[in-house]
Amino acid sequence: MDVLVCIKRVPLSGGKFTITEDGLDIESAKLGFTISPHEEVAVEEAVRIAEKEGGSVTVLTLGPPDAEEQIREQMAIGADRGILIETDGQEWDPQGTASAIADAINADETDFDLIIMGNESADASGYQVGIRVAHKLGRPVVTGVKGITIADGKATFERPVKTGREMYEVPLPAVVTVLDGLNIPRYPSVPGRIRAKKKPIERLNPERPEPKLEKTHLEVPVMKSRQAQVLGNGPEAAPAVVEIFKQIGVI
């Protein structure tokens, strides 16, 4: 099984976002970068599949040259090679992103049996790149998946819904987008990191198409500013808490 995982470099969002002066980006000079939890489990799942079934794991991203950092991180987890579709740092819209990814996959020597993506990116959250890639490749796609079973050239995907779960059985090759919770991803080991340094990364440089979903402005929403009213310290605050329970009618 040769598995491709798509990831996206995004700023680490531990604190309050600040927007750049042009209103188009997050001020990231002081921030670190990471990938979405959805993508972390995607890579972990791919590595588990390769460990079990044999084969390879390729990590692909579309992003600035610095996105090599995210590819190397995932190589430390166990990915074998990387494809970096380099941008000049400008955001690509979902259609442009999907085209570039599909082109890269078509051009690649490996015929990927399974392409795994996060259900939606952490930052843009467009919910569509995986689906668009699948259409371009002519492959079935299942989204929002939290369980993957591979058997006899077919994949069974499990998707949680309110009432329980839906099962999808599709022939391979296929595309799947996954959700955090699919597994608990491992931390990279030090030997894994050392090996990652030497793994190959292929760089591609397609042109950025004009975006059809064109970002014009970003802002931090005005949150209802609450300052918690302190009911007390330790157990003696319990009666006050129960008063609140009564007020809002939960008891």
């Binding site: 680490l12 969002s13 531990g14 604190g15 309050k16 600040t18 002081k30 921030l31 670190g32 970068f33 950092e69 190397r72 991180e73 430390a76 491992r186 931390y187 990279p188 080991s189 030090v190 030997p191 894994g192 990191r193 050392i194 340094k197």
Partner: protein, 839 residues
């Protein structure tokens, strides 16, 4: 949020380990009405304390830092937040093994007991997950431990609050500082303005930003220290508490490894220096983790992964052990690696307690609080005094260059005479080009490039043969040349010309000038015009604040001459002691005047050949100064000597220095004048004369009587430290500064070895020697005494050993060498009657 009170005795900015320690000790020493503010939340406001690795290795080559650390550990223990786990510093190279033996010396010299050298096998017994094949040995300190610095901070803060002396305001950011007439008067915050008599900046790497608001300078830079945490480690699965395995410092790779719960923390000082700007730190809200925890840059840790894997393959090589956490933590670095403590020289009552590590925090809080409340601290803080810097040293370039160079020396093997490579040629004397042409080997003092010796004198090495005491061991030959000793011997035969431009000179003038110097200086200043007085400057407790020379140039005009290294602190001390009524003023002449010293039996012949003024023994007495003419130069000549020979210090305006050099040089040719470097002036010349140096022999922890420098009688007039000095004179000293000679230099391999300073002096049973005040005996200065053919060590010794002829041993790099007390007290070894100077 409650509002700030409108005034306070002192506002302490910062609630990290340092700010909390300050509020506690200030309260303990009796100050009430303290207000502490921090822009972050409590108990972890987001500074460097919050991400510190929190371990403490007590051994340090700096006595000041070792004592402050020792005191901090006692405080942490008292608070119940110290867990002793032991620590091993391991060596991968022979050079490092030697360095570990040096650490053993420092341990014994500064009283850190129980340390021992370990074989690889012994290291593995303590830390079984190390690969013994990677290391040559280790230095074990049983008293290494880990502290909970956040908890300690909370305890100290709450103690101050419980005393009713402190109010603390979190989430309160300083927006401005109010300075009136050079004195801080108030702090402006986003929660109101508070007037204060004193303001203490204890904000770690935000210090520069705050100081700038007041027009002061705290020269530090935030720098990255990388740390990762890997786990879970199967071997540590049952670990109880924070730590139970010894901490390992892998010195040669600039890394450490410590068990933390079921994980292993790996820290590094090996990566490229990553310096940040205090102005550009993120706010608490913007920061991803905290304002001082930056995103980890894995590419800077690449080599460290491999090195950690080499040393601890069982853990680091385990594929199931993952990297759970990694940060680029920020800490504060300074141009010389030492803290920034004390009142800022720019703004009165604005204090800095900056660039302090967890290991020194409580000790420094205590010492600086003593300094603020009592006027001085029990532990001498002279090398950390923030007043030590010259303007050029506070520039962004100097800070960045020197911290970048210093960073990778965090675990480095730093030679006692090691020179900085960066930011050199900052201050050049008028003689610089001439000296370069003579092959000067330049060392730096306070930015000045000073010849340490001259290659042009290389021929003299052959002339004096074994009398130059040649060295074969690489360590002692590094940053040294036998030419130094050859210059010394030649100067004693003919004459030497010494560049002393690095001296700090400042004038005190006005009707109040006499009272000022009389109060600050221990020696009598009520002297005739034209007298030159060498005097200690005392602290209240009778220890040494400085030693310097004062010339009386007019009834209301004194000129102070002091060393370059400590000159700025001296200048501040005199400024602090000026009369409040403005009747005396200080003018700093350091950059206006240049000084040349000419000493040796032929010095007078040379001088009289180029001046018509009387420079005869009777016409120009020792200890006097006067203006003489040399060609078109008016020269202030001062007949004193720090090298033990006849001669003068000659002062002229900076722009005329080159002329003076040329005149002396030309006249000196027929009298055998040679250029002589600071190697002679600073070490060999003085040490055989028993002259003490500030910062090595002289410090506030030892008094004038112990140093052997008490004058026959004490002046009538009052002076700082007089009461203490009188008391010291009435008691038998518990230690006396002695000169010891090394009887046999031969090591076990047959090579002759020469001590460099700070080695422990031991009894014949190789036991440490401790005086009645608990102070260890160790070598304060070491150096060749070429004229007496000995290597001389200075050391304070308790009375039972401070007896001429006493046999002792010195420990040097793991071996013991016999020494003899040659002089107890200040009598010179060479020319004890000072016939040369007085000829």
């Amino acid at each position: 949020m409650s509002t700030l009170p409108s005034r306070a005795k002192a506002v302490i900015i910062g609630a990290g380990i340092v700010g909390n320690s300050m509020v506690y000790h200030l309260a303990r020493l009796g100050w009430t009405d303290l207000v502490q503010i921090d822009k972050g939340p409590l108990p972890n406001p987001g500074g460097s304390t919050g991400h510190a690795s929190n371990f403490i290795f007590p051994v340090d080559h700096s006595k000041e830092m070792a004592l402050l650390t020792f005191d901090s550990v006692s405080q942490y223990k008292e608070m119940g937040v110290f867990t002793q786990c032991g620590g091993i510093e391991v060596a991968r190279t022979e050079e490092r093994m030697q360095e570990l033996w040096r650490r053993m010396q420092s341990a014994k010299s500064f009283g850190i007991d129980g340390c021992k050298m370990l074989t690889p096998a012994e290291c593995i017994e303590l830390v079984p997950y190390m690969d013994p094949d990677v290391i040559l040995g280790g230095f074990y300190t049983p008293t290494v431990g880990v502290v909970d610095s956040l908890r300690a901070g909370t305890i100290m803060r709450e103690r101050a609050q419980e005393m009713g002396s402190l109010q603390t305001f979190a989430n309160t950011e300083v927006t401005g500082m109010v300075v009136n007439d050079g004195q801080i008067t108030a702090v402006e915050t986003d929660n109101g303005t508070i007037e204060a008599e004193y303001v203490v900046i204890a904000t770690g790497l935000w210090g520069p930003r705050l100081a700038k608001m007041a027009g002061a300078s705290i020269p530090l830079t935030p720098a990255v220290h990388q740390m990762i945490d890997v786990g879970p480690v199967p071997r540590f699965a049952d670990a109880k508490g924070d730590i139970e395995h010894p901490i390992v410092r892998d010195m040669d790779t600039n890394m450490y490894e410590r068990q933390h719960g079921n994980g292993l923390e790996i820290g590094s000082y090996a990566h490229r220096p990553i310096l940040h700007d205090p102005e550009e730190l993120p706010s608490v809200e913007e920061a991803q983790l905290s304002p001082t925890e930056f995103p980890f840059t894995a590419e800077d840790f690449e080599l460290q992964y491999e090195q950690a894997l080499e040393l601890m393959p069982e853990i680091v090589g385990d594929e199931t052990v993952g990297q759970k956490y990694a940060i680029n933590g920020l800490l504060s670095l300074t141009p010389d690696g030492l803290p920034l403590l004390g009142e800022t020289p720019e703004v009165k009552n604005l204090w800095s307690v900056s660039a302090v590590w967890i290991k020194e925090g409580p000790g420094i809080g205590k010492a600086v609080s003593e300094w603020m409340v009592l006027g001085e601290s029990a532990i001498d803080l002279q090398s950390s005094d923030i007043a030590r810097f010259y303007d050029h040293q506070k520039t962004r370039k100097n800070i960045k260059d020197r911290t970048a160079e210093g960073f990778n020396k965090t675990y480095g093997i730093v030679h006692p005479n090691e020179q900085w490579a960066s930011n050199r040629n900052v201050r050049l004397s008028p003689y610089y080009e001439r000296q370069k042409a003579l092959g000067a080997e330049f060392y730096e003092t306070a930015g000045w490039e000073r010849p340490f010796w001259y290659e042009s004198n290389a021929d003299l090495v052959e002339k004096f043969g074994d009398a130059v005491m040649p060295r074969t061991a690489e360590w002692e030959s590094r940053w040294w040349s036998p030419i130094i000793n050859a210059e010394h011997l030649q100067m004693r035969e003919t004459a030497g010309l010494v560049d002393l431009t690095a001296f700090v000179e400042f004038d005190i003038q006005g009707p109040g000038a006499f009272d000022t110097v009389q109060r600050v200086c221990m020696r009598q200043m009520d002297v005739p015009i034209g007298r030159v007085v060498y005097t200690p400057v005392l602290s209240d407790n009778g220890g040494f604040k400085s030693d310097l020379t004062v010339m009386r140039l007019a009834h209301d005009h004194y000129r102070v001459v002091t060393g370059g290294a400590h000159g700025m602190a001296d200048l501040k001390w005199f400024r602090d002691n000026l009369p409040e009524d403005g009747t005396a003023q200080i003018t700093d002449l350091t950059s206006s005047l240049t000084t040349l010293g000419i000493w040796g039996p032929n010095a007078r012949r040379i001088l009289e050949s180029i001046t018509r003024d009387d420079v005869s023994h009777d016409g120009f007495k020792f200890g006097t100064c006067k203006s003489i003419e040399i060609g078109s130069l008016k020269v202030l000549a001062s007949r004193i000597s720090y090298v033990g020979d006849l001669g003068w210090e000659l002062y002229v305006p900076m722009e005329q220095g080159a002329q003076l050099w040329d005149a002396l040089w030309e006249a000196g040719q027929q009298h055998g004048l040679i250029p002589v470097g600071i190697g002679v002036y600073g070490t060999t010349g003085r040490i055989e004369k028993g002259y003490r140096a500030f910062g090595t022999e002289l410090e506030t922890e030892f008094n004038v009587v112990e140093a052997g420098m008490a004058p026959p009688k004490v002046k009538e007039a009052d002076f700082v430290g007089k009461a203490s000095h009188l008391k010291h004179r009435s008691e038998d000293p518990v230690a006396t500064l002695c000169s010891l000679t090394v009887d046999d230099h031969t090591s076990s391999t047959g090579e002759k070895r020469y001590m460099m300073g700070k080695e422990p002096i031991l009894t014949l049973d190789k036991e440490p020697i401790t005086d009645a005040h608990g102070r260890r005996s160790f070598v304060t200065s070491a150096g060749s005494a070429p004229s007496v053919g000995k290597h001389v060590l200075m050391s304070y010794l308790p009375p039972e050993y401070a007896v001429e002829g006493t046999q002792l041993v010195v420990e040097y790099l793991g071996e013991h060498y016999p020494v003899t007390v040659a002089v107890a007290g200040a009598t010179p070894l060479f020319d004890p009657k000072n016939e040369r100077i007085l000829s």
